[in-house]
């Protein structure tokens, strides 16, 4: 698997298991790796932005230094207007958005020379769609979105999207981290049910027997509501899954599960702290292991 090459020409949401999981570090790696001399699309620019308070504005709002991304000439980023002057990437402005976020007006800007910039994003899901549209209009087809998983659904439904899940694994979180990865990888194998999309957007349910659609959060209680003749559970997308791996596995044995909006899991980037790869892999299913890449900064 070429972990970065497979992200070319698509919008990739880099989501994390928790704060400081290493999302922005992975984003910086992806931006650097694709520009290396042997990179598949050397010279083609990429764009990046962030979504969600957790990654977009909290740091500035609460006074913590915000991680920056390194842009190469031609790369674009959504940055706070107020941070334009502090970037050394010689940014030129492509678009200024009217709806201000907690850190002020977001600006889509393009680097005229190599340098770093602070990234931000939209205040709303529709704003995310607008930004992705503007990036495409600027001729950039590889986009990295650093952010919270609960903000990606609507835009991802229309984008050629994928997910990279970044997880921080420590001895105390080894089992739970593995469970989360196993669930994600298993959910990724579930089929899409696009006919149900309009239902989740407020439209009528499509005709057909045996499907039980769950609106909103998919919890144990909601799963128990499935009628006895239900053969398949239809969920909106994987961000609505609020059951653990064990329960998920049990449900998968009972039902088929499909997602109205499916977001392909492109890779799981694991940052291991005091955990050996063999320990982590021993807890993963084959499907999860197939998605696994390790901290790309790691050298033997």
């Amino acid at each position: 698997m070429d972990p970065i090459g497979q992200l070319e020409g698509r919008t990739t949401f880099i989501v994390g298991s928790r704060k400081n999981a290493g999302k922005t570090t992975f984003l910086n790696y992806a931006l650097a790796a694709r520009r290396r001399p042997h990179g598949r699309r050397r010279g083609r620019p990429a764009a990046c932005l962030s979504v969600g308070l957790e990654s977009g504005s909290a740091d500035r709002v609460f006074g913590t230094p915000k991680p920056r991304v390194r842009l190469r000439p031609g790369d674009a980023a959504v940055v706070p207007a107020a941070s334009l002057a502090s970037s050394d990437a010689g940014l030129e402005i492509l678009r200024v958005y009217q709806s201000a976020t907690a850190v002020g007006r977001p600006v889509l800007a393009r680097a005229r020379r190599e340098g770093t910039a602070e990234i931000t994003g939209p205040a709303t899901n529709s704003g995310l769609g607008e930004m992705l549209g503007d990036i495409a209009e600027a001729g950039i087809d590889t986009v990295f979105v650093d952010g919270a998983v609960d903000r990606i659904t609507q835009a991802a439904a229309d984008a050629r999207g994928g997910i990279v899940y970044v997880t921080r694994v420590e001895p105390g979180t080894l089992a739970s981290a593995a469970d989360a990865v196993n669930l994600l990888a298993d959910a990724d194998a579930c089929p899409a049910a696009p006919a149900w999309r309009s239902f989740f957007a407020g439209g009528p349910a499509p005709a057909g027997k045996g499907d039980f659609a769950v609106k909103g959060a998919f919890t144990s209680a909601r799963a128990a509501e499935a009628p006895s003749d239900a053969r398949r559970l239809v969920l909106e997308d994987l961000t609505k899954v609020f059951v653990g791996w064990r329960e998920w596995s049990a449900l998968r044995r009972r039902f088929g599960i499909a997602f109205a909006v499916s977001l392909p899991l492109k890779a799981v980037a694991a940052n291991l702290y005091n955990v050996a790869p063999v320990q982590f892999e021993a807890k993963l299913t084959p499907a999860a292991r197939a998605k696994l890449i390790y901290n790309p900064y790691l050298r033997k």
Binding site: N28, Y29, A32, A33, R35, R36, R70, A81, A82, L84, A85, D88, G90, L91, E92, I93, L94, V96, Q98, R105, V107, R110, R112, R113, E114, L272, Y273, N274, N295, Y297, L298, R299, K300
Partner: protein
């Protein structure tokens, strides 16, 4: 006052078709302007007509729409918005200029669409390329000089870094490539640390984050680059301030452009809406003139009926007197008549063309509806209390020309007192020449001279019986279809008779049990015999 009327006639559904393209037009839509000046309204209608003619050239209309869509709001925070604000000013002017070039000269003059910012745009153009904007070298020789020095420093720094990384790679095999750091085993890092080539910090128990330590030459040049960057920042800020001074110098012209854009956007959007919904220009008449409608459509109902496959009967009538009292069958269309007139009047006085072949009416100072709004709630007040409170609020506006629409007034009290209350309202309205009243009711009251008694034509019970002979309609859709087929949705002068008992026929079609209907009919016969 107009809010009650807007809610009664579902004005938001009409407004949903109004789609301005600029932030200025959208702000005006959100404000919801209501005009009580015929002159202002005629000017708006003229512009809508002008844009309807302009839009016949589809290519030009599409281009204008594209430029309007790309007009941003000028930044309210002025110089504080920095280069991002300058980008917005440049984008505004570029699109304004292009839009101005598309409009016919007479229309541009009417809108105040005059291109007066050529000098400012030519200054800002120096920082623009293919829609992008930055504080370019062209704005300041100092900027050009310092940026050239930064570029040279960057090249030199890259060379020094590559040399240093090659040296580290050669002596340790550690390849940083394009990365700022690596994570390596602690024991491998130790000799590198000792050699002074790599700096480390803990990662976990067995590994460290290793970062290359650059040479003294690199550090010195990097420091110089920092100094140059600071100089660049100062030069950029200076250039930015000068550009904002140029913008401030053109403030009056920019404000005129903003007004022109808003007016253009509003009229263009109204013209597109008129075409989409087949609207026509209202005719404004002097105070006291009758309200005349022809081919008038209450759009929400028209759409609902179309969904059921049912025909919609447009309204045509002249409300010749200042007060109109409308009687008629249940489901006979009384409320729709009131809603249609309210929608047309509110649309017309909001500067829109109207969903009618003809609509002529005077201009009112306000429009109010008293209609038993289900959302109207106040602690301690019953439905009757709320209705009286709504009437009081509406009546408070009767010091100026008022169109007052009342649907089923006093419906929640007994018939005798409801009739008395209605008689009181009519008497008071008769004595106040500002009030143009339209009232629909089932109750009979004594009418003043100023009032016209009207009735809906009602249910054609004879035809219904002939066609159905006791069969009942099944399902709501079929019931509605049946009512729609035999209901005559028209208005006529009311001769004052009690009228047919359509309520029982409608109740029967709607599936009320036959025994209930029969008992009700017997009761009515007894009452009539008693009378």
């Amino acid at each position: 006052m107009n809010e009650t009327a807007a809610k009664f006639c579902e004005f938001d559904k009409f407004l949903a078709h109004y789609a301005p393209l600029t932030p200025y037009g959208l702000a005006e839509k959100a404000r919801g302007n209501f005009y009580s000046s015929a002159k202002e309204l005629e000017a708006l209608y003229d512009l809508t007509d002008d844009f309807a003619a302009f839009a016949k050239n589809k290519s030009r209309a599409d281009k204008l729409a594209w430029h309007l869509k790309n007009v941003p709001a000028l930044p309210a925070d002025g110089p504080a918005s920095g280069p991002a604000g300058l980008f917005l000013v440049h984008r505004f002017l570029s699109n304004f200029k292009s839009a101005a070039g598309l409009l016919p000269a007479p229309l541009a003059r009417k809108l105040g669409f005059r291109w007066t910012c050529a000098e400012l745009l030519s200054i800002l153009d120096k920082g623009a390329q293919s829609g992008a904007f930055h504080i370019a070298d062209a704005f300041s020789p100092a900027l050009a000089k310092v940026r050239s020095a930064i570029a040279a420093a960057d090249r030199h720094l890259a060379g020094l870094r590559a040399e240093r990384l090659a040296e580290i790679r050669k002596c340790s095999g550690l390849d940083f490539g394009g990365l700022d750091f690596l994570v390596i085993a602690e024991d491998r890092a130790r000799p590198l640390c000792e050699s002074g080539r790599v700096f480390t910090e803990p990662y976990d128990a067995g590994r460290v984050v290793a970062k290359p330590i650059m040479t003294a030459a690199w550090l010195e040049l990097s420091g110089e680059r920092e100094r140059l960057r600071a100089e660049e920042g100062r030069a950029e800020a200076l250039a930015c301030a000068e550009l904002w001074a140029a913008v401030a110098g053109a403030r009056a012209e920019l404000e005129a452009c903003e007004k022109a854009v808003e007016l253009c956007d509003r009229a263009f959007a109204r013209a597109r809406m008129a075409r989409e919904l087949s609207l026509s220009r209202p005719e404004l008449k002097p105070a006291g003139a009758p309200i005349t409608v022809k081919g008038a459509r209450f759009l929400p109902l028209e759409r609902t009926l179309a969904g059921y496959g049912l025909k919609y009967t447009p309204l045509g009538f002249t409300f010749a007197r200042r007060l109109s009292v409308i009687h008629g069958s249940n489901m006979g269309g009384k409320t729709v008549v009131l809603k249609t007139v309210t929608l047309l009047q509110l649309a017309a006085q909001s500067g829109f063309f109207v969903p009618a072949k003809k609509h002529s009416a005077p201009v009112f100072g306000s429009i109010a509806a008293v209609w038993g709004d289900p959302d109207d709630k106040a602690e301690g007040l019953s439905a009757f209390g709320l209705e009286m409170e709504a009437f009081n609020r509406a009546w408070a506006a009767s010091g100026a020309p008022l169109l007052l629409v009342m649907d089923e007034f006093a419906r929640t009290t007994n018939a005798a007192e409801a009739s008395a209350l209605i008689a009181g309202v009519l008497a008071e309205a008769a004595s106040n020449r500002n009030v143009h009243l339209m009232l629909a009711t089932h109750f009979r009251s004594r009418l003043p001279r100023e009032a016209a008694a009207l009735r809906m034509l009602g249910f054609d019970a004879a035809s219904f019986r002939k066609h159905y002979r006791g069969k009942t309609a099944a399902g709501l859709r079929e019931k509605l279809r049946t009512i729609n087929r035999f209901m005559r949705y028209g208005l006529a002068a009311d001769r004052g008779s009690a009228g047919p008992a359509d309520a029982l026929s409608i109740a029967s079609i709607l599936g009320v049990p036959a025994r209930v209907i029969e008992a009700a009919e017997r009761y009515m016969e007894e009452q009539n015999a008693g009378d």
